[in-house]
Symmetry: C4
């Protein structure tokens, strides 16, 4: 970000603000232990064509503004030689498919990883009867059902993108998804809403695992 | 709180002090992870007719004095356009039914939520044989039994209020209650006693869940 | 401690130093969550006849020097109107029976409470095969067996004191003990050794509970 | 380190830098609770013949530069009367067998200790299907298998060294190993890679224990 002239069409003030929001979220989520071993990645939409996203492999507990890079909606680096995360394609897909989304958080907590393995065979986790479902935008009662799909893991990103597209194209609602043995993706209209979604989902997955341990 | 003239009958110094006590408790309970995703709410009695209570939807880990509003004992906002939490009715009920109570804490920990689901069918959790029962005002021995009711959840507050009233009208002691899939309510004569009750109940519920996991 | 003249035979500098060590340990153990709801108490020997001990009911996370009082080896308050904890008798017993002990820590973690309930019927927890047994003074190998008795709880302190005396009079080694549904007592030649004993025992009890959960 | 003249061939600046890296890692790992009761030890290679390593028995949460000493690749103290840890032989073995390794971390978390006991009979833990396996240098897909051997514990270090040598001499890859009832050893090309390996292994062992609890 020391060369503002290479981003001719980018609002540098907005880029700086969003990079700071990403770095702050990263540090706080790392402190929860949800980003082990430099895993996880985070992004915010900048405008119709650009996204600010974490550079691959950085320690999320020490993230600063210069650990964030710019990509276009095809996931190509813009104005930098830095390498975007392989999973950038999953972020840009959210921004293409959800016009209101401005933030995407992908974390990797132990609860998320374990839940993804346990429910992988079902392909979905159904949450029901929890007051905290109301933390998901659009949910107003614990009596509703919140479905979180669990997609098979693959190192071939286009396959993952296709699985998410297929779910959306079927017309089912989607607020978040898990990848088997991996972690969660969720998003929202702004960073606070996205953080609220992530915290609520981590909490609900943890409750479901506890119930399963306790109800043989 | 920048317009003191709109609260003509309110002791502004007392309101400020109690708002600070609420905000401090909220930040500390949030740090324990007991207020996920902007859930939970907290209040303190101000005088015979007024209660200071957290405004709905604020991040409890960052609560400040201006996130607290005033309501009357019917749960109506006083001197503000802010929207009180839907659950305000459960707070004001405590102040009406327990003349000595000056603080109410409602949190939403994973232990509380899971315990509420496990014991919902019984309608009550019976705690017995734990030294820490003595942390509840009026208990002097681990040989006593401490009953915590678990009420069915509903988005219709008058039904919840009626359930609590029915328990109290039956003459049974009440120090705290759980709502199924939701969280806990407890109270006390001042904030330290209420904090002590909440910490003791969280601890005891956690111990009961552990024993259940370990004693098949 | 604002009236030094009421302790004519006490080394005030030493009392201040030991009160500071107790308060520091209390704050750190409270931060681990081992002193819920104002439970737990801590002491250090001052001389042949006096012990500095925490005053009953204080929040251990906020302990300061003035929360510590002086008692004699019979547990009677010295030079103060403050009320010593009911459990003071268990501290002074340690100082009478172990001439080298200068610190006693009694905490109340969830692991300690749950382990005490699970092993109460056996009356003892046998630890074996853990490298960390070597953290207990006198143990040099994981191949030894470390026995921690679990005594029945009672609100009548002389009965607890008698149970500990009976164990010691039988000639069995004693490094720590649990009280059922309650917590642990351990001690050492100085505060660092006592802290090391307490941390090792909390760790080993937690490992035993985990193994039991995992080895059906 | 107050007598620089006794280390005639040692780069004092490098020694100071590496001692600081070790102390920083120790404090952070202690804050995670992975070094209970003064257990665990940490080292960094200095040159072809020397290693900086933690002095035995120090509190890892408070480690400073003077808690680190120098040994040669036979584990003998260099330029100091301090006693190196009994486990120094396992550190120097890593530096002899892995020319690229510059850091070794040995910790002692509850998860590591419990996993070592559970898998001791198998002699190995096989990790498979976890995205975080990619945090181990050389792994590029969750479809690989990562084997962590579990060696029997002994207080006789040459036996432990021989077990590790036998594994390596058999030609099997080795990124880390557990000792039964004890803890983990891992290493890497620099401190950040070694930290990443340790965090990933702690996470993966925790996930495996959770899965085992949840999949009866």
């Amino acid at each position: 970000m020391s060369q503002p002239n290479v981003f001719p069409v980018i609002d540098q003030t907005l880029l700086g603000e969003r990079a700071d929001l990403i770095a702050e979220a990263a540090r706080e989520l790392a402190a929860f232990g949800w980003t082990p071993a430099t895993s996880s990645n985070f992004s915010m939409r900048l405008d119709d064509a650009h996204v600010a996203i974490t550079i691959s492999g950085r320690d999320k507990g020490r993230l600063i503004r210069s650990d964030i890079m710019l990509v276009d909606l095809d996931g190509q680096a813009v104005g930098t030689d830095a390498r975007p995360s392989a999973e950038t394609a999953l972020h840009t897909q959210v921004y293409r498919r959800f016009p209101e989304a401005t933030a995407v958080l992908h974390t990797h907590s132990r609860t998320q990883s374990v839940a993804s393995r346990l429910f992988a065979a079902d392909g979905v986790i159904r949450l029901e009867g929890w007051e905290l479902q109301k933390a998901i935008a659009g949910y107003t009662t614990h009596e509703s059902v919140l479905e979180i799909p669990v997609f098979p893991n693959t190192q071939h990103m286009p396959d993952l993108v296709a699985q998410v597209d297929a779910w959306l194209d079927s017309g089912k609602p989607l607020y978040a998804y898990l990848i088997n043995g991996h972690g969660i993706y969720t998003w929202g209209r702004d960073m606070p809403e996205t953080r609220r979604h992530l915290e609520a989902l981590e909490f609900l997955l943890g409750c479901e695992l506890d119930l399963r341990r306790l109800s043989p």
